[in-house]
């Protein structure tokens, strides 16, 4: 039995009434890469934030090499040898400083180092680190001139400079290409051989296959699966992460109408495969796939937030290439974006104002708002979606997550459209709200085409007539939602190569 590096027992955390972590048990061993998987809102980031001293736990214990570990602030965690590289790269580098200063930033903040900066020592030290890491940058170059991938590597190198005992990497490859990721993996191999315990958070199956010694899956704040027997059961891990406790939902597959949307040889990126797709009137299509599979990118392209790399889109038979959301809305495309708090909720507004914000044009006369019309339509939507509130003038922030989500999805159902795109419409909502939203989307789906992007498979199966699977920015599977082969879908979500590995 190897000695434990980090032992987490019964860790709990709640934000207000919202339980984010429910008695988590987790072991990290030295010289091992433990991959942590989990959908949005599963509690991964909260766990990481507790480990690196940003949040305090409500209960349970963390032991580090047999000693109780209770970081009060990030510095405590560093001093104990727990180092985290966060997902947002700009947290890890200071763009205006040069490479050497960035690598040595922590030395600069150390109270023990003197008042003056010795430029020479700084460079010598930083070059040492760069060499160990296999980085070859001009150390005088400001970081702002480097690309995203190089910045990411510097952020990681900076973490190395602290001689970590436990290293936490939060989606480190999300902005790296395959080649750059390989550099990172080599580095991790080297660290592994020096007995560092690594907690690696990612959803890229290709990463996970390369470096995982153990996979831990989280779902709804608890550990839903641990896989440490070789060969690792990747499909089992995906199942444990996204879950498919089949919920019986009865609905008739709708009669397809005319074709509304056609994607022809659409490429999301320069190096991704073509997407060809047709979506029809009356149809609800779910597109599922892991984080980073290109779902949000496709949704953004459909709504004019981003441009595709190449290929074309046709809406109702006409070429469709909106340059901004306003144009998309005018052409009859509505989209409810994911991450409601940053992309959808207008927190100074009440329910009524939040609901009606995209369509004020339809409720005004010579630019003057028709308050009665606005009130009525808000009341109707509150009623239709079962939004729990005292009145339409409640502040949006007083609502629960599920009800907020109903509001920001509901705003796009206020007016008819020819294509409705919903990106993660069930993100961070309870089961009741999820049902309400799902039912309402299906009830109103006649006369338009609907695309729902979801990471969780059972959400897709609950709502869709047809389920498409996306992986690495291409469509890899298509299933009519009737007696679906769930295992086949899971294999597709995890990536085709998993299938061949499993059957080998």
């Amino acid at each position: 039995m190897k000695k434990l590096a980090c032992e987490i027992r019964g860790l709990e955390k709640a934000f207000g009434p919202n339980k984010v972590l429910r008695k988590i048990d987790l072991d990290l061993f030295p010289g091992e890469v433990t991959v942590l998987m989990g959908a949005n809102g599963a509690g991964k980031s909260t766990l990481v934030k507790i480990l690196c001293g940003v949040h305090k736990s409500d209960g349970g214990s963390i032991n580090l090499f047999g000693k109780l570990f209770r970081p009060k602030k990030p510095v405590d965690a560093f001093n104990e040898g727990v180092v985290t590289v966060h997902q947002s790269i700009n947290d890890g580098v200071v763009p205006d400083l040069d490479v050497a200063s960035n690598l040595m930033l922590d030395r600069l903040t150390d109270k023990k180092s003197g008042f003056f900066v010795s430029e020479k020592n700084l460079r010598i030290e930083s070059e040492k680190i760069a060499e160990i890491m296999g980085l070859s940058f001009d150390s005088k170059k400001p970081v702002s001139e480097l690309g995203v991938a190089d910045r990411q590597l510097i952020a990681i190198a900076r973490a190395m400079a602290r001689n970590p005992k436990v290293l936490i990497l939060d989606e480190p490859t999300s902005s790296l290409s395959a080649k750059e990721a390989d550099r990172l993996f080599k580095l991790l191999d080297r660290l592994r051989s020096t007995n560092v315990a690594i907690l690696y958070i990612s959803h890229r199956m290709s990463d996970i296959r390369q470096i995982a010694d153990k996979i831990i899956c989280m779902r709804d704040g608890s550990i839903s699966g641990t896989f440490d027997e070789k060969p690792l059961d990747y499909e089992g891990a995906v199942t444990a992460m996204i879950g498919h406790k089949m919920t019986e939902v009865n609905f008739k597959i709708s009669e397809k109408g005319r074709e509304i949307l056609k994607l022809s040889s659409l490429k999301l990126d320069g190096d991704s495969a073509d997407i060809n797709l047709k979506i029809h009137q009356n149809e609800v299509v779910a597109i599922t796939g892991l984080l980073g599979s290109g779902k949000t990118q496709l949704a953004s392209i459909l709504f004019g937030v981003m441009k595709q790399f190449s290929g074309s889109i046709f809406l109702n038979g006409n070429k469709y290439s909106p340059s901004n959301p306003m144009e998309a809305i005018n052409l009859g495309v509505h989209m409810s974006p994911k991450d409601r708090s940053s992309n959808a909720v207008i927190k100074d507004f009440d329910i009524e104002k939040n609901l009606t914000v995209p369509f004020l044009n339809n409720y005004s006369w010579l630019s003057l708002l028709k308050f009665k019309g606005l009130k009525n339509v808000a009341k109707e939507t509150i009623n239709d979606l079962g939004i729990v509130c005292q009145s339409e003038n409640d502040e949006i922030e007083t609502l629960s997550g599920g009800n907020q989500q109903k509001v920001v999805v509901g705003r796009w159902l206020l007016r008819p459209c020819s294509l409705l795109v919903l990106d993660e419409p069930f993100q961070g909502v309870d089961i009741k709200a999820r049902r309400d939203i799902g039912n309402y989307i299906r009830e109103t789906s006649i006369n338009r085409a609907t695309i729902v992007f979801v990471a969780e498979l059972d959400e897709a199966l609950e709502i869709a007539d047809r389920v498409l699977v996306m992986n690495e920015k291409k469509i890899v599977g298509e299933h009519k939602n009737k007696n679906v082969d769930i295992n086949q879908i899971l294999v597709e979500i995890a990536g085709q190569s998993t299938f061949s590995e499993l059957s080998r």
């Binding site: 959301p325 927190k347 100074d348 004020l360």
Partner: protein, 338 residues
């Protein structure tokens, strides 16, 4: 518990108005001559110009921006109108139109700097402020403009401020009392009404508030964010030039040194406005009341023989108290449990 909560709600919502009423009552009792129509009009007149500027800056605050150039736009408008009337000998109408266009243009440039060139709002408008302060001195080599002044070329300027122009700064309408209400007060009230209608009753105002609260969400709801941001600065530029015109018409000369305090006073009024009716956000009604609040306080203190040099101190105190009202009280009650 419940009553305590009610008290806080009440003080957030009506605290500032109660304070204003208290002040009026206090001065009416203790400062002889404070209570009365002429005194009230005097207060209105003293805040009319800063109030108009403050209403413009309110629009930029609504879109989560800031306009530091309003004071210099106002003084530029003052100098420009004097230059057009006295040196170029244009009509009042031409001078007014030219100044309004100048204000709109400056606002447009501010907006473009912020939206297209991605210059942070404070820095863009600070740069514009310096630029205008310098520019308005160039045509007259740094001197004030008045009829009969000697020009750099040696000629004497013969143009005059026509009566029609002076009317907008000096005329008083007879209402109940003879020569009671001056034109600038009427203009202040009209501008306040227009900005209030624009922000509260039109979809444009609603969308501007949406941008100020969550720009990304507003954009994803199909709002033309750039257009509305630029519009806010254009409005701010126009109102600032109106303020400058009124100042010019009141002074009857292009005084290079006047209008120094305009920026700070009007920003203060707009920020004090956050506290009115617990809005906790920029709003037209609040701004107008904020301006009046400062006016009442200063007028009252002056009548009680407070020396003039305490004025800025008093304004600063009011501003700090208003900001505490806004941020400390409202944020605590809104966030609740967290």
């Amino acid at each position: 518990m419940n009553s305590e909560f009610g008290l806080r709600e009440f003080s957030i919502k009506y605290g500032f108005l109660v304070l204003l009423a208290g002040l009026v009552l206090f001065f009416s009792i203790f400062a002889s001559g404070f209570a009365g129509a002429r005194s009230a009009v005097f207060i209105f007149q003293s805040v009319a110009i800063t109030g108009i500027l403050a209403l413009g800056v309110t629009c930029t605050l609504v879109v989560d921006g800031f306009d530091l150039s309003i004071g210099s736009v106002a003084t530029s408008s003052l100098m420009m109108s004097a230059y057009m009337l006295v040196i170029l000998e244009q009509s009042a109408f031409v001078a007014i139109i030219a100044c309004l266009l100048m204000g709109a243009f400056v606002g447009l440039v501010n907006g473009l700097l912020i939206v297209k060139m991605k210059v942070p709002d404070l820095l863009a408008t600070l740069g514009m402020m310096f630029l205008l302060i310098g520019l308005q001195r160039v045509p007259t080599e740094g001197r004030s403009i008045a009829t009969g002044m000697r020009l750099p070329s040696g000629e004497v300027a013969d143009g005059v401020f026509p009566a029609s122009f002076l009317w907008i700064g000096r005329h008083r309408f007879d209402v109940f009392l003879e020569k009671l209400i001056p034109v600038p007060v009427i203009i202040f009230l009209v501008v306040a009404l227009i900005i209030w209608i624009f922000l509260e009753l039109t979809r444009h105002g609603r969308l501007m508030y949406a941008i100020g609260s969550n720009e990304r969400a507003a954009s994803l709801a199909g709002t033309n964010v750039n257009y509305y941001k630029i519009l806010a600065y254009v409005i701010s530029g126009i109102t600032a030039s109106i303020g400058g015109l009124l100042l010019s018409a009141r002074l009857g000369r292009g005084d290079i040194a006047s209008g120094n305090n305009l920026l700070l006073d009007s920003v203060a009024a707009a920020l004090i406005g956050f506290a009115v009716l617990g809005a906790a956000k920029p709003n037209a009604l609040g701004t107008a009341i904020g301006a009046l609040f400062v006016g009442v306080l200063l007028h009252g203190l002056t009548m009680m023989n407070a020396p003039y040099y305490t004025q800025d101190f008093v304004k600063g105190g009011v501003l700090v108290i208003a900001l505490v009202f806004t941020f400390a009280l409202t944020s605590r009650s809104r966030k609740g449990g967290h």
